[in-house]
């Protein structure tokens, strides 16, 4: 029984939150890695693209809600998400036309493009705050829980509860669907194959008649889609605030780099590695240990490696270790 309780505590406070956070990071990192692989620069505006997409989704959610349109037990935001993706894709394509295209034609080195993306980041950042404000926005509706901790306890008779939020399930399900669709697109469709060809060898791809502008456009649309989905899932599960999306940039880049920049599979693995290490290193294992170990071994201390204040430090440390010892990441991406 105690072992079971230990497992439930672990699931409730480590596994479920870590899995959800990992799925959100993976989607973000996938967008970063895609832009890096095909357009060949680190897109610092990705965090704010997520914020922008989420903002548009929230505005549509409010509009739907005011018309009395709901999605049953699921959040209305899922209905609004396609519109969020549409507007974000249009905005990002516009940015490409106005800003990035100029530097691409000049064949600027990627460092310049990185700095350009920082500029784009500040503009998007300001625009989002200007339109929706800087405060916390909660746009979740529908059923909040699949099962609450209290229901779980009465149902199973255990001492510990396991709460599963609807948004956590939605996050994982949507992430799986989006990633599956993305891999199918990249591996099976003509456009996807031409994108990979373009990524592997630009000159050879051009010789075989691939239209580079089209590849660039499709890449941006995919990046905008991934960013919006990641942003909306994160906002639904936690809360939306432009500033916190900006802060997400670090764990997202850490995920992409740890997995190997430019490698989609690596981005997903990296997302989960970063998420679980952040959660596990800062978790106090006292309760789990008390249940799992015999009574005489029960710990007095908290068994916490690091205070939760240092969560970001975990991403940083992993990032530095990987860059020092495996510059191309765990899954053989491009070297930074």
């Amino acid at each position: 029984m105690d072992q079971l309780n230990a497992l439930i505590v672990f699931l409730n406070f480590v596994f479920v939150p870590g899995l959800t956070y990992g799925a959100q990071l993976s989607l973000g990192a996938l967008g970063v890695t895609l832009v890096y692989g095909i357009l060949r620069f680190s897109n610092f505006a990705h965090g704010d693209t997520m914020a922008f997409g989420t903002m548009v989704t929230i505005l549509f959610t409010w509009w739907f809600q005011s018309m009395g349109l709901h999605f049953g037990p699921l959040p209305t935001a899922l209905l609004a998400m396609p519109f969020g993706i549409l507007f974000t894709a249009l905005f990002v394509l516009g940015t490409d036309r106005v800003v990035y295209q100029f530097y691409r034609k000049k064949k600027s080195v990627s460092t310049i493009l990185v700095i350009v993306s920082v500029g784009v980041m500040f503009v998007m950042n300001g625009l989002t705050r200007f339109i929706i404000g800087v405060e916390n926005r909660n746009f979740e509706d529908g059923e909040r829980f699949l099962i609450t901790a209290r229901d779980f306890k009465t149902l199973t008779g255990l001492d510990e509860g396991l709460a599963i939020k609807t948004t956590q399930v939605i996050t994982v399900v949507v992430a799986i669907l989006v990633v599956a669709a993305m891999f199918w697109f990249l591996n099976r469709t003509r456009t996807g194959k031409s994108m990979r060809a373009f990524s592997d060898n630009e000159d050879l791809a051009l010789l075989s008649g691939i239209n580079p502008e089209r590849v660039v456009q499709v890449t941006w649309i995919l990046a905008a889609t991934l960013a919006t989905v990641a942003g909306v899932l994160y906002g639904l599960d936690k809360s939306f605030k432009p500033f916190t999306y900006f802060q997400l940039l670090l764990p997202i880049f850490a995920s992409a780099i740890v997995g190997g920049l430019g490698n989609p599979l690596g981005a997903i693995a990296g997302g989960f590695i970063i998420a679980f290490s952040e959660v596990m290193v800062t978790y106090a294992w006292k309760k789990v240990a008390t249940y799992a170990l015999p009574d005489s071994w029960a710990p007095d201390g908290l068994l916490q490696l690091m205070s939760t204040d240092y969560k970001f430090a975990v991403s940083f440390s992993i990032l530095i270790l990987v860059l020092l010892f495996m510059p191309t990441g765990l899954f053989k991406g491009k070297s930074v």
């Binding site: 994160y234 809360s239 006292k286 309760k287």
Partner: protein, 394 residues
């Protein structure tokens, strides 16, 4: 012609009076930031006292008192300092009613008030560290130090038979000061703090903070934070994960908007914030209701008292220069003398003019001790049926 003459004379007379005797008092509160939901009532409380004095026409022969508002942001010391700097150098205020949060109040005291020789009375800065801060005799507060709140909170918990608690505090002067004071008092009374951790404002997710709190365990979670900030998110996250079910809410966490957003999950949680059952509190509430704001809001009565003390001290010193009137604050606030309640500021001014001693009681039974801070009366509250109900006064 005669009429025109009268009108011109009248305008001349009034404008003359206004130019010669306008007393400006800065109202420096966090109108934006984590306390933005309670500061409107605080500002209104201070301005109510100013309107009362202006209407009486008895402060230094009929001076008008005007309020100049500034935004302390509660958490950003640099922004608060520049707002205070503007009040002092550009608006030329004679006193500052503020600031609200302990960290910014300390910053303003050291960077603006002391260099410029402007006295300030804070209605809500409660950090114990401010009791010992260098202040050149320019700083007072109508709020008690959190050293006192720590003791009161301990009594509340002990009376309910709660012997062990987890504790989380917002990572700043207020949170740390209150958490340390509470932990010391609670452990001295035989209680156990299972864990004491800080949390930072402005994060999207507090599930890992809550996870460590839950791992340490405890019958109850004490949240020394802000009701519109991380404190709320931590309560929500604790309820979501089933980590804690009952919460202790100190002064920064008491607000109706918290009760409204969290809903049924907060039922049965309890806490305390400065308040008194003296008749002054009721008189103030009546005044506030007729002025159109909520007089029971946290720190609104303290704000009224802070502004009233500033003006009565000015009358007693017959000067608006800070170093003159600051010397009178303790005399006005404490016995002996004729007791003064809210709404009686006109009478107080008459008595001061006649040379009679007064003892300002005000809305919060003001009694300043030690370095010029309130001795501290608290209102114990409990969340019942979606409302903040007063249990008793301590």
């Amino acid at each position: 012609m005669k009429k025109l003459l009268m009108v011109t004379t009248a305008i001349y007379a009034f404008s003359g009076a206004a130019i010669a005797e306008e007393v400006k008092i800065g109202v420096l509160l966090g109108f934006t930031g984590p306390l933005e939901s309670i500061t409107p009532a605080m500002g209104a409380g201070a301005e109510l006292a100013m309107a009362e004095v202006t209407a009486s026409g008895k402060l230094m022969g009929g001076a008008t008192v005007t309020s100049v508002r500034g935004d302390s942001t509660c958490v950003d010391a640099a922004a608060a300092t520049s707002a205070a700097e503007r009040l002092v150098t550009s608006d030329k205020v004679s006193a500052i009613m503020g600031a609200d949060c302990s960290g910014v109040t300390g910053a303003i005291l050291q960077n603006v008030a002391r260099p410029n020789g402007i006295a300030m009375i804070s209605p809500s800065a409660t950090s114990p560290a401010l009791s010992t801060a260098e202040d050149d005799g320019l700083f007072f507060r109508t709020a008690p130090s959190d050293a006192r709140q720590g003791v009161v909170m301990t009594e509340v918990l002990m009376d309910r038979g709660i012997k062990n608690a987890a504790l989380t505090y917002t990572n700043n002067d207020y949170g740390k000061g209150l958490a340390d004071a509470f932990q010391a008092a609670f452990e001295a009374a035989g209680g156990t703090i299972t864990i004491s951790t800080s949390h930072d404002e402005d994060k999207a997710d507090y599930s890992s903070e809550v996870a460590s709190l839950a791992a340490a365990g405890g019958d109850i979670l004490v949240v020394a934070g802000y009701e519109a900030g991380a404190g709320r998110a931590i309560i929500q996250s604790s309820l979501d994960s089933g980590a804690f079910e009952t919460f202790v809410l100190p002064d920064g966490m008491v607000g109706q908007s918290l009760v409204d957003t969290i809903g049924a999950g907060l039922e049965g949680s309890f806490g305390q914030y400065p308040g008194t059952d003296s008749q002054g509190a009721e008189m103030f509430q009546a005044l506030a209701t007729s002025a159109g704001f909520d007089g029971t809001g946290a720190f609104a009565p303290e704000s009224y008292d802070a502004a009233a003390l500033i003006m009565l001290s000015m009358a007693a010193a017959n000067s608006t220069v800070s170093k003159d009137w600051a010397g009178k604050v303790m005399d006005i606030a404490n016995a002996p003398g004729v007791e003064i309640f809210p709404g009686e500021l006109g009478k107080a001014l008459d008595l001061i003019a006649a040379g009679t001693d007064i003892d300002y009681v005000g809305a919060t039974a003001v009694d300043l001790i030690g370095p010029g801070e309130s001795a501290g009366n608290y209102r114990e509250i409990e969340i019942k049926g979606g409302k903040i109900e007063t249990v008793r006064f301590r």
